[in-house]
């Protein structure tokens, strides 16, 4: 069974205050060599039959991502590659 993975990220020009908050917390862990953190969302879709990238792209464009502020990528991930 293969699944489609959709990664949604804020566009580069959109401020990511969550990512900034995480970046600002890193020095507390002793991490001082990170210049930027940006947070996105990973969505896994399983179709009844074969994974359908075109349908997944349509779902992502209409619902999973807001094209005004976000970019997305879709890819098929085989179950064999995952533990």
């Amino acid at each position: 069974m293969a699944r489609v993975v959709v990664d949604v990220m804020l566009k580069p020009e959109i401020l990511d205050p969550q990512g900034q908050a995480v970046a600002n917390a890193l020095p507390r862990l002793g991490v001082t060599d990170v210049s930027s953190v940006r947070i996105g969302r990973r969505i896994e879709i399983e179709f009844d039959g074969e994974p359908d990238l075109d349908r997944a792209r349509e779902i992502a464009d209409k619902l999973l991502a807001n094209p005004v502020i976000e970019d997305f990528t879709v890819r098929v991930e085989s179950a064999a590659g995952v533990a």
Partner: protein, 233 residues
């Protein structure tokens, strides 16, 4: 005049919006998210709250509710629609308004009385104000930061489609201090602060919010055939 107020699962301010419509002199009609029938209303308010839990993104799932399909069609045909807070987010997700509302820049939920300067007064929902009028209404949001690309912001400003800006402090980092905008036709308005919470001295910081609701009644009276204002009931 009949003003419909939509209730989504997770709506919070539908009761107050219906009350504000009544105080303004309208008949408030409750609309249910799962029912595509608009029951002949003359205008629609999408209220504040957390529709469908705001899962995924604020307003993203509400935009596909059966009632929204009808509202999107009707709005394109000229039906006055006001989106408040979560309702503004729904209107942006439905692409009835440009831009998007994102997490407050400082990451804090902001809940306070907020001064606004009204700009565009040629819309269905703001015609009762005067340009430059300063009003005080509550703001309460966690994801109220209005963003759009620079070309869209320039266009909104050039076309006079900013209906209100934050003054005396921007509560959420909205670009160019934008608190509310309208579509090209002026029938669809989205605003982040809550006019429906400023309609009575007992519960609000002012009565300034009432102007949005009386404005739409005036717009509807003006557009209906013949009858003077108030002659439709």
């Amino acid at each position: 005049m009949r003003i419909g107020v939509v209730t989504f699962p997770g709506s919070l301010d539908d009761g107050d919006a219906a009350r504000a419509a009544r105080i303004a002199g309208a008949e408030a009609v409750r609309l249910w998210h799962g029912d595509p029938d608009l029951h002949g209303v003359d205008a629609v308010v999408l209220p504040g709250g957390f529709s469908y839990g705001d899962y995924l993104r604020c307003g993203a799932i509400a935009r596909f509710a059966p009632v929204m399909e009808s509202i999107i069609d009707a709005a394109r045909g000229g039906l006055p629609v006001l989106g408040i807070c979560n309702g503004f987010q729904v209107l942006c997700e439905a692409h009835l308004l440009p831009g998007a509302l994102t997490r407050n820049q400082h990451l804090h939920f902001r809940n306070r009385d907020q001064w606004l300067k009204v700009e565009a007064t040629n819309t269905a929902w703001t015609n009762g104000f005067t340009g430059g009028q300063e009003i005080l209404i509550p703001v309460k949001n966690g994801e109220g930061c209005f963003v759009a690309d620079p070309a869209t912001l320039d266009k909104l400003e050039a076309e006079g489609r900013v209906i209100a800006r934050y003054i005396n402090g921007n509560p959420n980092g909205s670009q160019r201090d934008i608190a509310g905008i309208t579509n090209e036709a002026g029938n669809v308005v989205g605003i982040m602060p809550h006019p429906e919470h400023a309609v009575e001295a007992l519960t609000g910081p002012s009565l300034d919010g009432l102007g949005f609701f009386t404005s739409v009644l005036r717009a509807l009276a003006g557009s209906s055939a013949g009858g003077p204002q108030g002659g439709q009931q």
